[in-house]
């Protein structure tokens, strides 16, 4: 028998009680809810998510820290060159053929003191100063203290040309030069090593290769760098040739370099051209291809050094970029696994009204969160390396905002790019098959 139930209308009716649900036209789920859902998805497998981002973390950290080092090196070099004065031309020997690389000093010792004198004889008003330079590494001694220094013979003009006004005392004078006087100007490190206190060195005698020289000046601290004079000592070139240069090279007047200071930055190029033709005639080669000397101005030097560091930075960036790419592939891999694991969730969400683009958005958001999260961690790590660790190893790292922005943007793009394929696969899943997926 069938019993018709006394089916009274119940008190409850969701429609009456709360009103019909407010449907809203929507273009997507909205950033906040979709991020929440994605974070929930990622936190389910926290360890896996963290490991997945590791590739991006390392990639971004290396981009940020390595480019910081690159920028630090560039900054050092630029500061160094600028400390030399900007109107400087450096003439040095070159073993034939044009060199496009770094400054090469004394590669073939083909520039001589006579060349420097010839330049001086020009009496060119555009030339503010000329300083030949010949150097030897010699032991300096004061009392029990002993130090090895690069002793450079030059003219008094060196002071102005190479921006080396002594901090204490004076530079040696024209008289000292003409008289081959045994006077010496010490670099800051040399002075402090020998005398403890740089100021107390003035007037004292140091033994250079056994010969007593009177200290007339001490240069200020210039810091590390390839042009630093901290570990050098300067003597009149006349004295150098007589007293310091070994007997084997007696009579030789070859130089490491001749420094020429132009009176004004505007005339550098013209002076350079004139010096080039003068030396070409003197060295008997008119073919630029076979010049045995080279003239570099500061701009050239800066440019060639910068091109090296630029290449280096680019190279570092490329290596870091590759690791970002690898990180991206890791994300894609994990997202593909995730889509497979969550096939039933995808099927269910579709049954409940998720559109393909909702599913696409959900998974794309997950991969972007992974890569962006990795990017942020990587920036923190990279800055930590650049500012905390690198200086301990004597590297000057200058983090650049552009590298941070680029690395972060690249990480985000990696997330979208490598997240798209898995997300699209999720979006295209057939709801019937996915609901049944075990």
């Amino acid at each position: 028998m069938s019993a018709n139930l006394p089916l009274v209308q119940a008190e409850f009716n969701p429609g009456e009680a709360v009103g019909a649900p407010t449907r809203r036209e929507r273009r997507g789920l909205g950033l906040l809810p979709i991020t929440k859902v994605a974070l929930r998805g990622l936190s389910t497998n926290l360890v896996r998510s963290l490991l997945t981002t590791l590739g991006i973390v390392i990639g971004v950290a290396s981009v940020v820290s390595l480019t910081s080092v690159g920028a630090g090196v560039t900054a050092d070099i630029t500061a160094n060159l600028e400390s030399l004065g900007t109107n400087l031309l450096t003439i040095s020997g070159a073993s034939g053929g044009r060199t496009s690389g770094l400054v090469r000093t004394g590669s073939s010792q083909s520039v001589t003191l006579e060349d420097a004198e010839a330049i001086l004889d020009l009496n060119d008003p555009r030339i503010a100063g000329i300083a030949p330079s010949v150097a030897a590494t010699v032991a300096l001694k004061f009392g029990a203290e002993n130090v090895s220094a690069s002793v450079t013979g030059t003219w008094p003009d060196f002071e102005g040309v190479r921006n080396s006004e002594p901090e204490f005392g004076t530079f040696f004078s024209d008289l000292d030069w003409r008289g081959s006087n045994r006077v010496i100007v010490l670099g800051a490190t040399v002075a402090s090593t020998l005398f403890g206190n740089a100021e107390s060195a003035i007037g004292m005698d140091v033994r250079v290769d056994g010969v007593a020289f009177t200290v007339v000046g001490v240069l200020p601290v210039k810091g590390d760098g390839f042009n630093s004079l901290d570990d050098a000592a300067l003597v009149p070139i006349t004295t150098f040739l007589k007293r310091i240069q070994g007997p084997s090279s007696v009579g030789s007047t070859s130089l490491q370099a001749i420094y020429v200071a132009a009176a004004d930055a505007d005339v550098i190029d013209a002076v350079q051209v004139d010096l080039e033709s003068l030396l070409a005639v003197r060295h008997g080669t008119l073919d630029p291809e076979s010049y045995d000397f080279q003239i570099m101005n500061q701009a050239d030097t800066l440019e060639s050094l910068n091109s090296v560091t630029r290449t280096l930075t680019l190279f570092l960036g490329a290596v870091a970029g590759i690791s970002l790419l690898v990180g991206g592939i890791g994300i894609m891999n994990i997202m593909l696994v995730s889509v497979t694991e969550r096939t039933r969730e995808i099927g269910l969400r579709k049954a409940l009204g998720a559109k393909p683009r909702d599913i696409l958005g959900q998974f794309l958001t997950e991969s972007v969160l992974l890569s962006v999260g990795g990017g942020l961690l990587g920036i923190a790590l990279g800055l930590g390396l650049a500012l905390g660790v690198m200086p301990r190893f004597g590297m000057n790292a200058v983090p650049t905002s552009s590298s941070i922005v680029v690395a972060f943007a690249f990480a985000a793009v990696v997330g979208v790019f490598f997240g798209f394929y898995p997300a699209q696969r999720a979006a295209r899943l057939d709801p019937v098959a996915s609901l049944r997926y075990e």
Binding site: A10, N13, P14, P21, R26, A354, L435
Partner: protein, 248 residues
């Protein structure tokens, strides 16, 4: 008679095979009116799953028309069908299909999220629906912390979220013991009494008997479409009365 909630016109579904085609559904036609409780029956392979997928807009018929609340939905795009599923269909699955790491409240909210229902309203409605199925005290519980019967009731609350035209239950008691099965059936009767239209896909005769109409499928064809007075077993009636007295 009022316009039917849904009507199928010569609906067919076939899958291409190497040698010809497999016809999962052939020329299926019937109407379901508002407030009806229908059992869809048939042995496995009869096409009842396929029919359920078509009715739920999870699958598209190869041929024929499917009119749901006066709108032909057979030819809609994937995205449009998602909207119709969201608004008009409430699914109840044999395996419950609750999102495992979301609370019951959040699970009930999911369809409303996709409908763009504003957050506060969404939560209020979800809470209300959980109260309706007697799970108010479990709103913040995870599905793993509750019994099968409670899971299925949460799933029913979720199915009701958008006030669908049709509740589509696929073997809703299949994973439950008989006692909790009775509970769920009592809930369905209650909802039906309130005016919900239900289609229950089942192969259990005593479930099917509780409905006023049984559609039997065999080899993809509607074999019988019977109407009769529902036979509600005593345990279900007891639970129904109990639920009513609590509500009152």
């Amino acid at each position: 008679m009022t316009a039917p909630v849904l009507s199928l016109h010569e609906v067919s579904k076939s899958y291409p095979l190497a040698d010809g085609a497999f016809h999962a559904l052939r020329d299926v036609r019937f109407d379901v009116h508002e407030g009806e409780m229908v059992a869809l029956m048939g042995p496995s392979g009869s096409g009842k799953s396929t029919l359920m997928n078509v009715l739920g807009l999870l699958d598209r018929p190869s041929d024929g028309r499917y009119v749901l609340r006066g709108r032909d939905v057979a030819e809609l795009s994937e995205s449009e069908r998602a909207d119709v599923r969201n608004a008009e269909i409430g699914f109840v699955f044999q395996a419950f299909h609750l999102l495992p790491r979301f609370s019951l409240l959040e699970n009930v909210e999911v369809p409303m999220v996709y409908a763009g229902v504003p957050g506060p309203e969404r939560r209020a409605r979800a809470m209300h629906l959980l109260e309706r199925v007697g799970l108010a005290d479990k709103a913040t519980s995870l599905p793993s912390r509750i019994s099968g019967g409670q899971k299925q009731r949460a799933a029913v609350a979720r199915a009701l979220a958008m006030e669908p035209a049709l509740l589509l239950a696929d073997e809703p008691t299949g994973n439950l013991d008989s006692q909790t099965g009775h509970e769920i059936m009592a809930l369905f009767h209650d909802l039906n009494a309130e005016g919900s239209t239900l289609i229950i896909v089942t192969h259990e005769v005593d479930i099917a008997e509780q409905t006023g109409r049984q559609i039997h499928l065999l080899d993809g064809v509607v074999e019988r479409d019977e109407r009769g007075a529902p036979i509600v077993p005593e345990p279900v009636r007891v639970r129904l009365r109990a639920a009513r007295s609590v509500a009152a």
